[in-house]
Symmetry: D2
Subunit: 445 residues, 4 copies
């Protein structure tokens, strides 16, 4: 079967290369064609894919194209993306012609033809690449490469738009299935969970096992049929009495050997596994589905909160121009408060005052809250419920947020209205302690 497909592919490759005028004789074209450099093979394979060939041949050629892609190094990948940009975009002449036709007739056929002309050819190319077995995950990873390449080559954004367009369609929410992750999950899945956890990195199998203890922990993930055992996104939940105010109370809690009587479910880590799915959002759905399942399973639960980082707080504070802000920043930077309870008590009102502003009233250039995690949860309809400081003394958290964390509250009965207000008016619903802290700052700064 494999051999046969190769023979087949080479025939097509052969045909293409002759047509391109780059080959004259016949002979053992097969061997030669497939021993060309990956850059050449991928370019030929893409051309073949856009030609009128049979479905099964397409599957074989798509496989070859993706295999060739896997051999590319960084500069070659960038060249490939540039090829997608330049050779698989739109044809201005086609657009003009289609537009004029439509402009005259204004009928549906003409509109369709115009749509065809305006759709970049790479959308079609990506759809055909997706025919190969296992292609979807490879295309997600290809987009991840593309996003990296875009840092130095912003013009590639046009290519990314097409990736984003197709991935949104393929990763439709209806195709996802939520699955509980526990010690009965396969090692293949668990290993990925360990690798993908970046909010509170895993310390190995023992740490993972602790986070899966069914007595006081839960973990859930979304999977997609075309990406098999890859957890697309997963959330870690702690079942607690009361709302925890520091991440260490979760990460280092002693293991219970019987189910705890919890009134609170704390979403303390949410991870998107695949950077290539940027902008294709499932987090929202996952949190709500998990909240709904936990409600059904554990009747004692009365609260769903997060314990979330504030990854932009330090940078934002840095950028504040007031004397008071500068004073706070300096005090925090000294880090002499970390182990000094009195110092902490002294600093807390000031930290909370700025933190409340940071979450509730501050806006970035795009007019949204400066904190990316805040944008996610507030956009889901959660409220900014309680500030916790210091709540995370890991080096990373000290640097990014001076150790600040926050609980967002998910009240099922309120999320839609709060989402609405946030989207429409930018209103950030917040808890009483934030309101207090805000008041402390107002009129002064």
């Amino acid at each position: 079967m494999v051999k046969q497909r190769f023979a087949l592919l080479s025939d097509f490759v052969d045909a293409i290369m002759r047509r391109d005028g780059r080959r004259t004789g016949g002979g053992s074209a097969t061997q030669e064609a497939l021993s060309r450099p990956a850059t050449e093979r991928i370019s030929v394979a893409c051309k073949v894919l856009m030609a009128r060939i049979g479905d099964a041949a397409r599957v074989a050629v798509a496989e070859q194209a993706l295999a060739a892609y896997a051999e590319l190094d960084e500069p070659e990948k960038r060249a490939f993306f540039r090829m997608l940009l330049n050779d698989y975009g739109v044809d201005p002449a086609d657009i003009r012609k289609a537009y004029q036709e439509w402009d005259q007739k204004q009928d549906d056929t003409a509109a369709s033809a115009l749509f065809q002309a305006v759709e970049p050819k790479r959308q079609s190319l990506l759809r055909r690449l997706n025919l190969a077995p296992g292609a979807t995950l490879k295309l997600v990873r290809m987009r991840s490469d593309l996003l990296r390449a875009m840092r130095d080559a912003p013009e590639l954004e046009a290519v990314d738009l097409d990736f984003a367009h197709l991935l949104s369609s393929w990763f439709n929410r209806g195709f996802l299935r939520m699955q509980r992750i526990d010690w009965n999950s396969s090692a293949a899945i668990l290993e990925r969970i360990m690798r993908y956890e970046s909010v509170h990195p895993m310390q190995g199998w023992e740490d993972l096992r602790r986070r899966l203890n069914p007595h006081d922990r839960r973990m859930f993930a979304f999977f997609h049929p075309a990406t098999g055992d890859e957890p697309l996104i997963f959330v870690e939940v702690a079942l607690t009495q009361g709302v925890p105010d520091a991440i260490s109370t979760i990460l280092t809690a002693p293991e219970p050997d019987a189910p705890v009587e919890a009134d609170t479910a704390v979403f303390y880590s949410i991870n998107n596994s695949l950077p290539g799915l940027k902008g294709v959002s499932f987090g929202n759905f996952l949190i709500k589905q998990v909240a709904s399942e936990l409600s059904a399973e554990l009747s004692g639960l009365t609260r769903f909160v997060t314990l979330s980082p504030a990854p932009g707080f330090a940078r934002w504070l840095e950028a504040q121009d007031s004397e008071r802000a500068r004073a706070l920043k300096e005090a925090l930077d000294r880090r002499d408060w970390i182990t000094d309870e009195k110092n902490i008590e002294r600093l807390r009102p000031e930290v909370e005052a700025f933190a409340a502003r940071y979450f509730v009233t501050a806006r970035n250039k795009a007019g949204a809250p400066p904190d990316p995690v805040a944008r996610f949860h507030l956009g889901n309809g959660a409220s900014a419920w309680r500030l916790n400081w210091p709540a995370d003394r890991s080096e990373h958290a000290l640097k990014a947020a001076h150790g600040l964390m926050i609980n967002y509250l998910y009240e099922l009965a309120a999320i839609e209205a709060q989402h609405e207000r946030f989207v429409r008016d930018g209103t950030v619903t917040h808890g009483p302690s934030l309101a207090d802290a805000l008041r402390r700052l107002s009129g002064e700064d």
Copy 2:
């Protein structure tokens, strides 16, 4: 939860309806909104879906829209499709503006904006409807309604193009999983198989059971994660000694009680279950994957053939203008041959001569073979291998094809080349008996 979502929905509906100027007071808007006629509810829900609302609200509104659709009668459905055509197409002013911008700048941003302007809004609408649980299958069924409506309203084709575009993307081959159907399959699946079998209709559970006897039968189907237990397409296979020349030898064969020693796998019935997936082709992939699995399982198999109907033969013969064709047609219409072996022997050369022409050289207006089943198998790269007459004496087959059937041959090593020749040059690869029969007709008629 349900109540809450209704309340929410009604808020949006309320908002929309006020904006539309159709409501003034406030009060128990909820109740009223949801007690409106389905035609009104679906129209409002579509508007809400296109507004800027939260994802979870969208899920609720999409559910409402699909629930309202389920209540529509035929004329109301047609009205709904017309609404999709007229209200959710493109905006000519937008297109003009985007085109002029693009024409000046010719950059990627402008091209993207033009693409947005040219994409009919109903694509976005359909994507959002697809957020509701179980929506994908409902949208497939909606398209089936649309196809029926198009018989009297061909202008709806523009709407169908968008359905086809999205369904092709959602029913990507990589998302399908092939599953063997046997007596261990669930009753829920088997019942659907019985309902969907239209080539050789099932006579009930006993007939089904016979067709699943593992000793000499196989059945395989494709499933999609978003449509659950719905078999999208399925193929029935008989394992035989030699190539069967009549369908009755398959359908009424005595049941073996041990595995048969088969050299041939006969694909004797292929059914697309969901008319709403018209044009989204899996048959090709299914046949090849089944052939590959059977090869691996049963090393004795040396041949993969179909035993296929010729659904357009009678009509095509009718349309032939020669004396000879008319004579044959009259003889066949008399039906006195059915039970008269001599008569059959006398007529056979003539039937085969015309049948060979019908399959190999005849062309319809579009330049393709007139037989739809032939187009499918030849397009897959199979050859027209052997004519069988009479091979199906059911009333249906006598009427449509004067009892004619044909074996298409799938040779794994040849299908791609044959596909290529068929697509490029229209060449129909055919077996020796068809070649003989063709010769009989040539130069005379």
Copy 3:
């Protein structure tokens, strides 16, 4: 592999047959040995099984023995069972010797040796037969044959004791798994359910489907790992408002298209599938586990009852010697009441009076209630809760019970105490209507 095993087996068979003095030459012993009549082959295979051979050979020989058994006709089976009785029992000389040794030493080794001597050899034989793939189910069926054979040959009971002993051990409750049966169950399982339902026989797939409607019906079965898809026992449950007083209200109830609001779960049919498991009781466990699962799933349920037949009522009434009983019997036998509501009202007090006696105070020779179904449910700790007459007008029920049925009530909090009283004192806990009915009869008859 198969051939090799045959060769092997024949070697052993060969050896055995020589030892038995029935063969002298060597030659193609294999062929001959395996072409002997089944009666001979099974006898030889049993001897081989008891010899000192390898485990894998044992598996092969056990297979041969069971294959030979499958070819036996009724008289041959009886002869086989007689062989088990006579040739695979105990050896009196061994017992005497072991007893004397034990009597002298009284130590554990001697006790073990005595145990060995007293254990019939057929227990060991059955354990070895059970090594063959699929053997467990075949042995269950073999016992079913044995039970039939015992009707004319009560001396075979000694053989049955050994079957019962081993099957009780193999079908330990801990090895069973309960499974819900519904429309997603495999056709292979559902077909067996249809075949095994004998309390209220199934009218075909449509009837089955009705009984699986998730809105108001449930079905559960026990399976054992060694008998695969065979449902060992299953119970059918109707979810109702109030306690139904006639079986027709269950069997012919219109199908709801949404879940009903039920307060009662009615176990209306309990079937032991395999007669060969007689005396190995699971019914008790199944009912309690189902009640417990339904409680967890459906919080509205407040009552678990049966709607049970009274299969021995007519015969018992027949045997009553009083004038009053005879009068009632004659009136019931006339059957003119069946469609005459007035007649029914007139007869009811009398029917209930005798029925109450039948269930509550009557005793058979063994001192237990005469009704077998009553013995089962009362033994489980249920109470005789309510008489229903007429409740089943099927010919079978009219003949066996004059149409009488009864609800047994399972109160989880009371079953153990009631079981205890029933077992210790023979007390039948009964509902108020039975108490009334009993009073009506007392002191008169």
Copy 4:
């Protein structure tokens, strides 16, 4: 439910304790009964279990008994086993009476009664304990405790016989299911595999992962329905070119990233997980089933061998009385050969000569080969195929076997005959190199 069961249990406990004359008043018996020491509770629970109580109560009491057992310390466990020995054995008076009855009547009823009298009561007790959820595994572990206790209390063997008898019946081969273990297995299973591997202990998850690499490794285990995720026995297989002669070539082989072309399957580690199943042998079945599956999957395999330790070689050599043996032993003990290739070459003929004798002709007191692993494989019908020295330089292997290993060969076509010869005549089939080595020693020593 739980509360109710406790109440219930206490009632029975109450009853029993009154009967035993140890309690007089009534009152809050429940609390008190369950707060008694575990030794008392288990003793009472056992008595209750043997009384005539309902099945469901039995489940509850069995649970209590096993819960109490879990609280016992070592001396208390020994006391418990002694109680099983003394209070749950046979009643000599019963035996005598039953024997005399049988001796007079010699009929089947009397034989059955005698069987009853001779069967130790603890068999019945163990069967009833086995009713509790999860009981089977707990009883296996209890037997493991028993085996340990027997070291100092050999009289407990009588108790062990009953455990062995029942476990053999419950762990019937037909109830086991073989499962491949790989990286898709659950962490819960894999963790147990790591814990139970004692032949070549696992170095952690990375080591495990290496041993599960599908390109050149396989692992299979047997599971039983009543012990869930516990792998009862598992075998690790390496797929190699040629037969490996040292364990390090397997344990430290570089990982291939594509399937290897193997001609040999090496069973290099076989582990029985549960000591409590001693004497209930599955190894035989597992090896043959694995060989059969691998044959079907990998057509290139032509050989199935083990690479096995020789755990008794050093001790056996120590016990040899000849000058030559002593000389060899001394040389080996010096260990200066380990890293000195020349020394090795010099010693090898002598090591092989003694090793050949050890495996082929030496016998222990019971008349069997002195090596336990040899007894297992030879008893399975394998041959002693090739000596490998030095093959394992781990401290453990140097101490127990001076680094010696051996390949046993499983030839499917020969195992039954070889098994037969081994069992009947004690013949050890051996490979040519062992034959050579044997010759070297003969006539001299």
